[in-house]
Amino acid sequence: MARSTRTLLVGLAVVGAGILLAALRVNPYVYFAGYVILQYVVIATAWNILGGYAGYVNFGTPAFFALGAYTAVFLIQSTRAPLPVLILAGGLVSGLLGLGIGYLTLRLRGVFFSIATLALSIVLQTMIINWEYVGGSRGLSVIRPSGPPFGSYVTFLFAVMVLLSVVAVTVARFIERSWVGRGLAALRDNEEAAECMGVPTLRLKLFATTVSGVLLGVAGAPFPYYVTFVEPTSAFNLDYAVNALAMPMIGGTTSWVGPVIGAVLLGTAQQLATVTISSEMNLFIVGVVLVAFVVLAPEGIVGLVRRVRGR
């Protein structure tokens, strides 16, 4: 009890700090860059619930992210719904897709599951390309609501993203420490053995894919208001798939801190690289760091720290 209270307090403190930072109105660039990094914290955390805890590698991150974004676009187009509604709806729709993908795991495992999720992304992108109402292949400009809190809409989005990251990380931490997390760990190591021991593998997998889907959709929902122009190629960008996988790998997949560390490190490095060196280097950095970690520290930074401490 005391432990969960402390978690709650830490979470609230982070949200408070985020709001304070937003209210301070420092250099606006901080909010723009911060938004992208926090968005990756949510994405990496969400990916890790399925990929890290349950061991089902999902290459379809762009599908879930873009579905969240396009749900928001649809609602903006049809009803001009407020941001909280967009986020909830984005999470709901992506969560349903996650549930559907969960049933796929009945028949598909390992690399076959990964290929199926990759295909999912392409199928969804083709559907969006042919759906004129949300911009189709041409893309759609989204006009932000006027009079946002903190004076600027992106500052407001930054504060919202702080909140969403805290929620995502709290959910991940809760799953990890509960019987659900232990069950997922068991099925990651050996699904048949886990089933024999009485772990409800299908229910747990459905739970993991759904929660992961919800969080990815939630990360995508504010995206239209951030870029103000949504088109399929950038919404379904493969970068999201690569980063969602690379960030937890670098941070460490077994613990909730792993994706956060990975997202903050890699996200910040990418933001800095974009405005300092050329971006060809940008992708190169991700590649080199990923290979280095897989070879030298397969359990990520968290594993590395644990090993050093254990000595």
């Binding site: 420092v26 723009f32 400009s141 992106v154």
Partner: protein, 423 residues
């Protein structure tokens, strides 16, 4: 506290302190002297083959201006970042330019999708913004301080096709039936909408109207279907990979319409011209610039191209630079002229001047009109003629890409029908 914990806190404090200092320190690093122009540009990703030449053109302008003593007596400096052809990077890049680098003026990156996310930023801060080759970016916003250099004119949707169908309508015997085809993507869809409007206007009969997915690899079934309709006019709206695919398939299948081409992006690029060679003969296609005497008459263009071609070789970008670079140069030329004339960097004064003035540039006289587009469209229709082999040097001079439209820039006669020019 344990020493370990103290060290950890000191480290965290140090990092936060450094970040705060970096944030505070940025404005003081601002140099008072040079005029800084900021932009994002596609230096990697899908549009980089055009983004790099565009950057080179802007750099040449900067050097030209600085050789003459700069703007308002101050040297010009460029601050640019790679947008990776990804619209999602644009908000971050321009905020960095405006709030950290403190640039005085901004221009857009290359292409419609990279201009779109810049519009709200420009409007929020009331900036004067120059757009580089965007199609109808301002139609939704109608922002008065946006100016766009692609000569599409006030009606961007029909601008690609108008010359093509006007030419077709003038030929004898007059063609009757039309086949239109294009990719499921942003530009081709726009061009097809315009084409349908023009077909109605000129009273042609549509016998084929289909689109194909951008990932298509084999174009022969599409071309066979078009051939089966026996259409007199074949209008294609395509991006570079499919332009090449369609043209190859047309030759394989032996497509023989009376007039062929229209809105094929990519045929203008040097790399495509030198790989397609004689297959281009007879194609009537849109273009923005060709080394014809009528286009070389504009002041400064020859000097610009000489400089560009010398530097392009070293930079490893498009060696001829006939499509986008003259317009990229003209874009900053216009902005520079506005700064000189108003003797100011005030965004509103610049916009007022840009709206009211006719500019003399390397691509001719530029006057902005509705939505910041050219007051009068000037998309060229050219026909490839007498292309032999795949050598690059033949494309340097006139006669290979003859300008047929508009009338005032016409440099030769159309070879009609298509089959007569084919070989």
């Amino acid at each position: 506290m344990k020493p370990q914990r103290i060290r950890r806190w000191a480290l965290t404090g140090g990092v936060i302190g450094a970040l705060v200092l970096a944030g505070l320190g940025a404005p003081t690093a601002r140099a008072a002297e040079p005029i800084r122009i900021g932009f994002g540009m596609a230096l990697t990703g899908g549009l980089s083959a055009n983004g790099k030449p565009a950057l080179l053109a802007v750099q040449i302008w900067k050097d030209d201006v600085n050789k003459r003593g700069g703007l308002l007596g101050r040297p010009v400096e460029l601050v640019y970042y790679d947008d990776q052809t990804n619209p999602a990077t644009v908000p971050g890049i321009y905020t960095k330019l405006l709030d950290v680098d403190k640039v005085d003026l901004v221009i857009s990156g290359y292409g419609t999708n990279l201009i779109a996310p810049l519009m709200p930023i420009a409007m929020e801060r009331k900036l004067t913004i120059m757009g580089m080759f965007g199609l109808a970016n301002n139609e939704k916003y109608q922002y008065p301080n946006y100016f766009q250099i692609q000569p599409a004119g006030p009606d961007p949707q029909t601008s690609t096709a108008i010359g093509f169908f006007e030419l077709a309508a003038k030929q004898t015997p007059r063609p009757q039936t039309v086949a239109i085809v294009g990719a499921d993507a942003e530009y081709p869809q726009n061009a097809l909408v315009g084409a349908r409007e023009l077909i109605k206007k000129f009273g042609f009969k549509t016998v084929y109207d289909r689109t194909y997915p951008p990932s298509t690899v084999d174009y022969t079934p599409i071309v066979r279907a078009i051939k089966a309709t026996n259409a007199d006019i074949v209008f294609v709206a395509s991006y570079p990979p499919d332009s090449v695919g369609m043209l190859r398939a047309a030759h394989e299948v032996g497509l023989q319409p009376k007039i062929f081409g229209g809105g094929m992006v990519g045929l203008q690029f040097t790399s495509v011209m030198t790989s397609m060679g004689p297959m281009l003969n007879g194609v009537v296609n849109y273009d923005f610039w060709a080394p014809e005497p009528t286009m070389l008459a504009f002041p400064g263009i020859k000097e610009f191209l000489k400089e560009y071609q010398a530097r392009a070789e070293k930079a490893g970008v498009d060696p001829l630079g006939y499509y986008l670079p003259p317009y990229s140069y003209a874009l900053v030329q216009v902005l520079g002229q506005a700064v000189e004339a108003t003797k100011s960097l005030d965004q509103q004064k610049l916009a007022d001047y840009l709206r009211a003035t006719e500019f003399n540039t390397v691509v001719g006289k530029v006057k902005f009109g509705k939505n910041g587009e050219w007051a009068k469209g000037r998309t060229l229709m050219v026909q490839y003629q007498k292309v032999h082999g795949t050598g690059i040097d033949q494309f340097r001079g006139p006669g290979k890409k003859v300008v047929l439209y508009p009338e005032e820039l016409k440099s030769g006669a159309i070879v009609y029908p298509y089959s007569a020019a084919k070989n």
